[in-house]
Amino acid sequence: MNAVRRVGIPALSNGGGSMSPGRKNVLDLDDFSREEIDGVLQNTTAMREVLNRSIRKVPALRGHTVITLFHEPSTRTRVSFEQAGKVLSADVINVTSAGSSSKKGESLYNTALTLQAMNADIIVMRHPHSGAPHFLARHLDSCIINAGDGAHAHPSQALLDMYTIKEKLGSIEGKRVAIVGDILYSRVGRSNLWGLLKMGAHVTLCAPPTLVPPDFLRPLPEEHPFASVRITHRVEEALDGADVVMALRLQLERQASGHLPSLREYSRMYCINSRRMELAAPDAIVMHPGPMNEGIEIDPEVAHGVRSVIDQQVTNGVAVRMALLFGVVTPDRSVAP
């Protein structure tokens, strides 16, 4: 009997892929190769099959402990990781800052050591400070999966976005992807940049100049990893011929912080609406990482329209996270025979 049968995940007809042998952490996509991203996406398909069964449970991570450590409010990401862990039969424990010792002044370092001492195999972490997962990874033996850190990265979101693009459009290579919104603070946008560029997409970023990192407003050197990214401040230009339109959440405090004159003006200039979507490719899809501010960065008609794949993103999110949880615990094992 091979490993595949034992963990209960179906083999893939095309052979499947795996994560890098020895990968312990998923902190961002900057250290993923194209092959490794492909491997995760293929394993995601296998996980999707499990999710389509009438009894959604396989023993792959039986006896493993997954702790979700969330220092920021989150519904979809935390629930998605929790469900992913449970479908794989891991013991999942949720820790949020509201109900944890961090409220009593315990340092992140000591909290982390405590969780490790409880034999956490995987810690899935969300934190308002960029680099918090790197800090844990530096000090712990547990596997660390970044579920969003500050304005830095959100790799599982980017992977589920890429999986959804591939599912809907057949491939990522050569596709024109327009990312519209708060590029300056968006960890979703950043991780998607790394991932999409590695997969050969053509990426256009669109935002008012105040919501673009200041160094992106000057010409980037040739050797810069994002040198090929097009930046525009006109949403019509970004959407023109786009295969994928990805709207990012606008944090509502951007008006008070002086980045924008008003949400009203932002909405008039950048909202993804059906009129603007006519500029995109005929079969273009619309994505949003959620939660949405309908009427600000995306029009409800588009968000719930025929081109929207936002609900599929959520479903795929569980499968991607299953692939990641499985991947870090058994990095050298493909789900294929």
């Binding site: 952490n25 902190l27 961002d28 900057d30 250290d31 340092s107 992140l108 370092y109 934190h127 400070h129 960029s130 680099g131 918090a132 790197h134 800090f135 990874a137 530096r138 850190d149 500050g150 304005a151 830095h152 990265a153 960890r187 950043r190 990192p213 200041p214 160094d215 992106f216 050797e223 810069h224 990893p225």
Partner: protein, 462 residues
């Protein structure tokens, strides 16, 4: 210093005394706490201790215009006793203590307290700096005249600028009565708000808020204009950008009373140190990765978080050039010791600062090894340069080996290679981005007031 202090003859070293232009193999005789003679083949008086210095540099003890001894109030980070011993270990025999203590040194009695404590417990000379404003709060002037009488050598709200331009004007005008500088931490609060590291690609890729160079430069421009207006003296603490160097150069050409200092880290490290790749070579930039490589779990290196932030390579080169040509007057350490927990955190939560006294010389010697700065200029910027800025607040001859100068000496081995091991620091602050780096050259012995305060004989002579 009692009469029991014996005479010391330092024999056969290469004596570099920027004050007299001396750079030759010679002997130095110290007696009764001062320099007695510098010359060839000096004969040891009876009972004198003879120190062989063959192959070593003999320089005046270093003078640090900017360090944080943390006492009173933050004795978990450093004390006057530990900080001055760290200074001695780095060749510093005079250190100027910043007033951001708790309570802050904003009146004559706290100045007096620190001076008494230093006289009783310090290993080297401590000269206090007083606050510009009461409680460093930036609202009302502190009692500068009384602090000057008590021994303050200048005034600073270091850690913060004097943000209110009208108040800064009054401070410069008021302090001109006693010829002391306002030492300004140049940073426009609104432009620096929330900033963790330098603004640029490293901050962008790490997803943390950057501090733009203009946050420093706007304040430098204002302070130069105010110094010009008032005739007061502004000393710019820890300058870090190419734009600042340009403005200081032009202001000096116009005769504005502006002086400035630069830290060892702003001369030798870039923002890339925050990425956490291993440091390569002697004291310099990153050896193990480029700013475009994938991050590792060593990224977000809190030990490289300092204010002002480590800047770009362009800025570092501008700092070196400005130091070499004298636009920047001196090297000051901004020694900022912190305890373990202060840095054992995310980048956002980590304290700003580097424990610097014990690596300062070795770090900047890299500039000499690469011929960017001459050895004489480097030593001048650590001795005569800062002593000049202290003027008559310093003992006569400080920072030189002139006859009658304080018997403060640093003996330097230029070529010894050593690995920085913070766990062996004398300072309580083990916070340095240089941990594990190999540096070339170090202070091997320090003499303060005629007594060995650091080196193999440490303890025996006192």
């Amino acid at each position: 210093m009692s009469a029991a202090v014996k005479q010391v003859l330092i024999k056969g070293g290469r004596v570099i005394d920027p004050g007299s232009g001396l750079d030759e193999v010679a002997d130095v005789l110290l007696a009764d706490g001062s320099v007695k003679a510098v010359g060839q083949k000096l004969v040891a008086p009876e009972g004198a201790e003879v120190l062989k210095a063959t192959g070593l540099i003999v320089a005046p003890g270093f003078v640090d215009l900017h360090c944080h001894l943390r006492e009173p109030g933050f004795e978990d980070k450093e004390t006057i006793a530990t900080g001055t011993r760290a200074a001695a270990a780095g060749g510093f025999t005079t250190v100027c203590a910043m007033p951001n203590t708790n309570p802050p040194m904003d009146n004559a009695s706290t100045i007096d307290y620190v001076m008494r404590k230093a006289a009783a417990e310090g290993a080297v000379r401590v000269l206090p700096i007083g606050c510009v404003t009461k409680g460093s709060a930036g609202r009302e002037l502190a009692e500068m005249a009384e602090m000057a009488d008590a021994g303050a050598i200048g005034f600073s709200d270091d850690g913060h600028p004097v943000a209110d331009g009208a108040l800064m004007r009054q401070a410069l005008t008021y302090a001109s009565a006693f010829g002391l500088p306002i030492i300004e931490h140049c940073e426009v609060p609104e432009l620096a708000a929330g900033g963790q590291i330098n603004e640029g690609w490293v901050a962008t890729r790490l997803g943390v808020k950057g501090v733009p160079a203009v946050a420093e430069e706007q304040m430098v421009a204002r302070d130069i204009a105010l110094a010009e207006l008032t005739g007061g003296w502004v000393h710019l603490a820890h300058v870090s950008t190419a734009g600042t160097a340009d403005m200081v150069r032009r202001a000096k050409e116009r005769g504005v009373r502006v002086t400035s200092e630069v830290t060892p880290h702003h001369l030798t490290l870039t923002e890339a140190a925050v990425l956490g790749y291993p440091l390569g070579g002697t004291g310099g930039g990153t050896g193990g990765g480029s700013q475009y490589d994938a991050l590792t779990s060593d990224a977000y290196n809190t030990f490289a978080k300092v204010n002002p932030p480590l800047r770009s390579q362009f800025d570092v080169e501008a700092m070196i050039a400005a130091l070499a040509e004298g636009v920047i007057d001196v090297i000051a350490t901004d020694h900022a010791p912190h305890n373990r927990q202060d840095k054992l955190s995310t980048l956002n939560d980590a304290a700003f600062g580097i424990s610097n006294l014990e690596t300062a010389l070795a770090a900047v010697l890299a500039l000499v090894h690469t011929d960017a700065v001459t050895l004489t200029r480097l030593i001048e910027s650590l001795t005569l340069g800062p002593a000049k800025l202290l003027g008559n607040r310093a003992p006569r001859g400080l920072g030189t080996l002139a006859k009658g100068a304080p018997a403060d000496i640093a003996l330097i081995d230029l070529d010894v290679e050593w690995v920085v091991e913070p766990e062996h620091f004398v300072s309580k602050g083990k916070n340095t981005p240089l941990a594990g780096a190999t540096l070339k050259g170090r202070v091997v012995k320090t003499i303060f007031a005629g007594r060995v305060v650091f080196g193999p004989e440490q303890g025996k002579a006192s």
